[in-house]
Each structure stands twice: as structure tokens, then as C-alpha cells.
Amino acid sequence: MLSVTSWAYVVVIAAIGAYAATLADSDLSTILTAVSALVVASMVRVAASNAGNRFTTGLAVAAAVPMVLGADLGVDLAGAIAIYAIGLAIVWAIRYSRGEGHADLLPTLVRRFAGYVVFATSYAALRVGAFAELSGEWRDLFPFAVALAAWIGVEVILRALLVFGKRELSRGYLARSMIHDMNVFLGLAMTGALFGELWPAIGWWALPIALLPYSFAHLAFRRFQETKVTYKQTIRALARIPEVSGLGIDGHADRTTELATAVGKEIGLGPVQVEDVEYAGLMHDIGRVSLNEPQILRMGYNDDDLARWSSEIIAESPYLSRVATHVRHQYEPYRKPGEQTDPDVSVVSRIIKVAAAYDWQVHQDELSPLQALENLHAGAAYEYDPEIVASLRRLLESRGVLTPVRV
């Protein structure tokens, strides 16, 4: 599915670029230099780990383009569009030929191009339009700020609209994931603007000066991401301790987490909450490490004890204090008869409750997926949150685990 249509998109965008190049005021060598800068910069990935978006330093080059092409007041818009189009076409041609053909490449290409063009167009329009009257410093700052806002708007909207074959992800999650990684996006755009501001005054000296603050930020992004990966690995490893010691069922934490995060994304939680779901899922049964203590075995325990032990262990790390609360409430019923729902029981706790119960019934009680889901349905409204059970059903159906009942 990917190959033909994808290449068609690349060709179309390249053609737009070639046409724009014929209209451009800038000379060919400027355009070619900018295109190669865009291509090279697009090969450098930037670690955005909050919601796992992929950015490249190409964003910075794209932000610099209209400023570098701008003379006193006017901006060579056709030139900028030519650079974007040709540059992106080359980048994507390289990606496809490398075999990086996963499904979200295509929407990304469309989104990137649209975002770049909107940015350059609004920047060019504002430079000669509304802000031309402004004097001095602010004449550079305001058009950039407004154009950047327009760019971000386009990114967020297109992210939610251009969902190709990803029914399991809600539009709300996709749009919010962009906002959550805004720090990286802003850092890149401002680096480009810095270069663009310096370029007319000092030429290529602008490169080291623009790169300095950025390299600092880049290092910080990378460190954060590395630590996050490590942290998740550690939590995952720790979560398996009760399982390898025979105190829980094998793989329960992993499977519950997978299911719970998918449900979280499906019902439209933001990346922060989805991450909470992930940690809570991994550690929801961590208290089981205490189950080999003779005293506990003698006196017995209930679900509430387990939740308490688990949350006590989790609460040791300040970063996970929210997760500790979610885990503490993981066994509370959705609603007691005659009462409102308990506001202390978060949606994260309710998701964990449903996902853990489903996994337990399928893998411990050896029920079929359909039977397990029917049990959850029977408990919905009092024991389980009906919305989450419905979401789980949609998820399982789209994965083909359940065959919808036909009459």
C-alpha cells in the first residue's frame, strides 16, 4: 500500500518545488545550499521523549529559511517553498529507499510540508503587512512569534486529522502529544530564528553562535530521553521480581500495561496520563514481593493490603507519587449502589482495574477473551467503569481477539 502512493506524494511535492523554484527571486546557488542544509539537518534526530514524537534538526533549518531569504522587508516566498518542497522530497526519497516505510511517514510528510509553508507564508505576509510599521527589534520578533503560532496550530490540527490507519489512537491523544513535546519543537524553531537573525549581519559566523545554545539544549534532551529509557527498563525489571519468585503470574504486569496504555490512548487521555497508566500498570502488583513473608502468609491478606503495599513501594520515588495514588485505589469499585462515583478514584486506577481483571481472568482463570469480557460487562456500572469496558471491547475487536457476536 505504501510504495506507490508514497512515491506519488514525493513526486508531487518535488514537482511543486520545481515549479516554485522557477518563480523564486533568490539565485539558484542560495536555494541549493538551503536545500542541502535542510536535507542534512533532517538526518539528525532529536530525542523528544515526553510523548515520543520524532523531530529532526530540519525544523530549525526550515525556520531559518524565510528569514535568510528575506531582504529588508520582502521575503522570497516562492524561494522558501521551493526549498521546502525539494528538500522534503529528497529526505523522504532517502527514507523510503532505506526501507523506513512505516505507516506514519506519509502523514508526517504532508504535515511537515503544510507546517513549513504556513510558517513561511505567514512570516512573509506579516513582515510586509501588519508589522511593517514596527521599528527596530520588534519588527523581527512579532512576525516570527505569530508565524510560529500558526505553524504549531497547523501541526496540532493536522496531527489529529491525518490519522492513517490508526484507529486505536484517539485524535485527542495525537493532538496533545504534540503539545507535550513542545519544548523540543520550540527549541528547534528558535535556533533557526537565531541563525536567521544573525545571518544578515555576520554571515556564516551565525552558525557556531546559533549552534551553541542549541547543542546545550540538544544534550539536555538526549540525557533526559536516555534516563527515561533506563528508568522504564528498571521499572520493568523490578516489576518482574514478584513474577520470577513465583509470587504472581508470569507476564501479568507486562500484558496489563500493554492493554491499559492502549485503552488509555483509545479513550483520549493525554500523554501524561498515558504514561501514568504505563507505570501504574507495570507496578500495580509490585506489593506481591511481600507475599513470601511467613507472617503475612499466616495472617492472610486482601486486595486492599496488596494495593497498599504496592503503593508504599512506588511512593519511594518522588517522580511516581501520582502513580502511587493511582495504584492505591486500583481495587476500589467504580461506584457503590446509591452513591456517586468516588472522585478520588482516578481514571488511571479504573483503567488498571479493568485491564488487570481481564488479564487475570484470561491467563489465570483460563477463560476465553469473550467470557472474560462478558464478566467485565456484568460488573460494569458498579464494579468496573462502563466506558473503559466498552473501550476495551473496541480495542479487542479491532485486534481480532473477539469475534463480534452475530445473530
Binding site: 527596530g136 527589534e137 523581527d140 520578533l141 516570527f144 519544548n183 523540543v184 520550540l186 527549541g187 528558535m190 535556533t191 530564528a193 537565531l194 537573525e197 544573525l198 544578515p200 549581519a201 555576520i202 554571515g203 559566523w205 557556531p208 553562535i209 551553541l212 545554545p213 542549541y214 547543542s215 546545550f216 539544549a217 540538544h218 544534550l219 539536555a220 534532551f221 540525557r223 533526559f224 534516563t227 527515561k228 533506563t230 528508568y231 527498563q233 528498571t234 520493568r236 525489571a237 523490578l238 518482574r240 521480581i241 520470577v244 519468585s245 514481593v289 511481600s290 513470601n292 513473608e293 511467613p294 513501594i313 512506588i314 511512593a315 519511594e316 520515588s317 518522588p318 517522580y319 511516581l320
Partner: protein
């Protein structure tokens, strides 16, 4: 000394352009104030960038000198409210003097080289050279003064936080040079938007670093949480892990480990007993020798957990050290997958082994009293070269005497009593 530098610089130089000085000084103080404690050369020295930018601008502007301005700005940097609240006078004063002196030196160099320079793209090379010299001098003065201060206060110069100074040096100079270039570029371009963008990118990076530091602490916190759970199983081992980590740290310092090595050893100490989480509590609490089967079960469980932890890339080296802490220096004992019968384990594993055994002897068990420090040291000595690494034992003894604290029960000082207790077959030196 720094104060003299400040006063004399005030006398000999023209006033700085306060309009430029103020925002830069504010930025400088802000960066110093929010410095995140990360072993990261770019961060710890990033304030020098602002300082150099300001210095170049002040030096170049006609009628304004950098000397006094830089000395004052640099001096303000390290002053934090916390120091005054706790009525610590010496440290902020020493910092103030040290920074002011370094700032004055840098300012002087910039003044001499750049005063009245007509800035343009062509003169950027000139600025580059001047700011390299100034940045180098600034970093050099800082390094020398900190060394001296540390030596007079603590009596030795390899304390952990300062042991990485040489590595910081290069970073500081680079940042300083580029900072100077930014200052010149700012004057040429005459656009305030530049500052907004620089500060913006920088602030974003800083927030990320802050988040990184939090996450890293949390990583440690999670491991500690598990250790606590483990230790809750047996009241006699409470605090064991933290103490072993402390002993490992002071041994490492005594052996002149670098910051990274120390970090690794500390982590290894923290996880060295994590495998016991998987071992049934009766086995951990059991008095006396374990039956062969029980022993096998204990090691199997512990190794399983270590295998799981080995999937964490970051912990890989630590797990290797921790899993070998029961191996003897002569290659005896048992250990993880990298344990090789007849070969000594790594130095780090030997450190954990000695620290672990020492703490096991000097803390109480259900079946015996805590032994005295003398006895424990003597026991380490007796097995030095066999079970324990001789260098580690030496370093441990020196490090312990430096702490000025005594471990174990003082009243088991009597050799005879200690021996009688120790000869009890239930007591194993291997902890």
C-alpha cells in the same frame, strides 16, 4: 583577596554601561542560582557564556570598561539566599572572592584587547582570540583558587565534587569563547531579538536538564524503595544496603576513583542484595548454615533477579559487580555469570565484598552481638589476599580512620569474646 580585586578594579576602570550590565548580571545570577547538580561540563560552566558576552560588549562599547563590571557580576553569581539563611559566612565569602577575582582577570584582558574596537564581521577573529584568552584565564583562576580552597578546608584535593575539575576546564573555555562571540555578534547585528532567542533556547535546554536530574533521582528512589522492602523482611539487616554504599564510597574515594567509577560502585552497592527479594523470607532469616538445597535455591533466585536487572542497559556494569560480591580475591566463593573460578573479580566487586563483610560483622544478628570495629578490621586483614583484596583492605582501614566514627559494638572490643562469638559456626564472614 577577591574584595581587593573588586575595589582596585573599581578604582582603575571606567564605569560599565549599566544599561547593558543589568540584564546580563540578572541572567548570570539566575543561571548560577538554578545550576542543576549534574555531572555535566556544559551545565556547570554555562554561566561563563553570559559573563563573556557581557564582558565583550562592555569592553567594546566606548566609555565603558569590563573590568569592574565583570568582577562585580561574577562575584554576585555564587551568592545564594540559603547560605545567608543558615548563617554560613565563610563559603559564600570565599566563593565571592574567587569569582570576583576570576571576573576581574577576564575583564582586564578584554579591556586591554578590545577597548574601542570597531566591530564588524572582519574583527570577529580579533574578538575570538581575545575571548579565548580571557575565558582561559577565567577558568584557570577559578580552578587554581578552588583547588587551594578545597585543600585548606578539607586537607586533600580529591574530594568527589571537585575531582572533575580538569574535565570541566575545557568545557568552560569553549563556552567562554562562544559567549564572547555572541556578545560581538549582538553588537554588530544590533537586534534584541537575538537575546530573546538565545535565552529561549537556553531556558528550554535548562528545563530539560532539570527534568533529567529529577528523573535520575527518581531512578535512585525506585531502587531504594525496593531495598527498603527487602530490608523490612529482616530487622537485623535494616540500613545494611545504605551502609555498604557508604563504605564502598569511602573506599573508592581512598583509591582515587573518578566520579563515574564512584557512581558505579555506589549503584552496585545499592543493588548488591536486591536478589534476596526473590528469596523466601525463611531462608534469609534462617539461623546458621543453610542446607545444600536451600543454598542452591538462594543463589538461583538471586541470580535470576540479577539476570533480569541485566536487561537494564544502564545497570549492566553494576549488576556485574554486584553479582560477584561473594567471589573471593583468590577466585574462591561463588558469583554471577562472569565469575571465573580461580580468577579474582574486579576491583569494584572486591570493594563491595569488603564493605559487605565489614557491615555484616559490625552489625547485630539475631544469633550474635555486633562485633567491634577492631575485630572486623583484623578479620579483613587476616583474610586479606585470600578472600579480600589487600589494596581494598588497606584503603578501607585508612578511610575508616578518616571518618572519625566507630562502627560495631565497642564493648565487644575484647578479642577473646569476639573470637568466641566468631568461632561459632553460625557466623559467616561472608555476610
Amino acid at each position: 583577596m577577591g574584595l581587593t580585586a573588586l575595589i582596585s578594579s573599581f578604582l582603575f576602570s571606567a564605569e560599565p554601561d549599566w544599561g547593558f550590565w543589568l540584564p546580563f548580571a540578572a541572567l548570570f545570577v539566575l543561571i548560577e542560582f538554578f545550576a542543576v547538580e549534574v555531572n555535566d561540563r556544559l551545565l556547570q560552566s554555562s554561566s561563563v557564556m553570559v559573563l563573556m558576552s557581557a564582558g565583550v560588549i562592555l569592553a567594546i562599547l566606548p566609555g565603558s570598561d569590563a573590568l569592574f563590571g565583570l568582577a562585580l557580576m561574577a562575584g554576585l553569581g555564587p551568592l545564594t539566599p540559603a547560605d545567608f539563611k543558615e548563617r554560613r559566612w565563610f563559603q559564600p565569602l570565599a566563593n565571592f572572592g574567587q569569582f570576583a577575582l576570576a571576573g576581574a582577570v577576564a575583564g582586564l584582558i578584554l579591556d586591554l584587547n578590545l577597548d574601542g574596537l570597531a566591530v564588524s564581521t572582519d574583527s570577529l577573529v580579533h574578538v575570538l582570540i581575545a575571548s579565548s584568552v580571557a575565558a582561559f584565564a577565567y577558568a584557570a583562576v577559578q580552578t587554581i583558587l578552588i583547588r587551594r580552597a578545597v585543600k585548606t578546608v578539607y586537607g586533600r584535593d580529591n574530594l568527589e565534587p571537585w575531582s572533575q575539575m580538569p574535565a570541566l576546564f575545557t568545557g568552560q573555555v569553549t563556552m567562554g569563547i562562544l559567549g564572547g562571540l555572541i556578545g560581538a555578534a549582538f553588537l554588530i547585528a544590533e537586534r534584541q531579538a537575538i537575546i530573546v532567542f538565545i535565552v529561549g533556547v537556553y531556558a528550554i535546554g535548562h528545563l530539560s536538564l532539570y527534568a533529567f536530574a529529577q528523573l535520575r533521582d527518581s531512578h535512585l528512589g525506585s531502587i531504594r524503595g525496593f531495598v527498603k522492602t527487602l530490608e523490612a523482611k529482616d530487622m537485623y539487616t535494616r540500613g545494611h544496603t545504605e551502609r555498604v554504599a557508604f563504605f564502598a564510597q569511602i573506599i573508592g574515594e581512598e583509591l582515587k576513583f573518578t566520579g563515574n567509577q564512584l557512581e558505579t560502585v555506589r549503584w552496585a552497592a545499592l543493588i548488591h542484595d536486591l536478589g534476596k527479594l526473590a528469596v523466601p523470607t525463611e531462608l534469609i532469616r534462617k539461623r546458621g548454615r543453610l542446607e545444600d538445597e536451600e543454598y542452591a535455591e538462594m543463589t538461583a533466585h538471586a541470580q535470576l533477579v540479577e539476570e533480569i536487572l541485566a536487561e537494564v542497559d544502564f545497570l549492566q556494569p553494576m549488576v556485574e559487580i554486584a553479582s560477584n560480591h561473594h567471589s573471593g580475591f583468590d577466585g574462591g566463593g561463588y558469583g554471577g555469570s562472569t565469575h571465573d573460578e580461580g580468577r579474582s573479580p574486579s576491583l569494584e566487586a572486591c570493594i563491595i565484598a569488603a564493605a559487605d563483610a565489614f557491615d555484616a560483622m559490625t552489625s547485630a544478628r539475631s544469633y550474635r552481638m555486633a562485633l567491634s570495629q577492631q575485630y572486623a578490621i583484623a578479620e579483613l586483614r587476616r583474610n586479606s589476599g585470600a578472600q579480600f583484596h589487600p589494596e581494598v583492605v588497606d584503603a578501607f582501614e585508612r578511610a575508616l580512620s578518616k571518618t572519625g566514627r566507630r562502627w560495631g559494638a565497642p564493648h565487644v572490643d575484647d578479642e577473646e569474646m569476639a573470637r568466641r562469638l566468631a568461632e561459632d559456626p553460625e557466623l559467616s564472614v561472608r555476610g
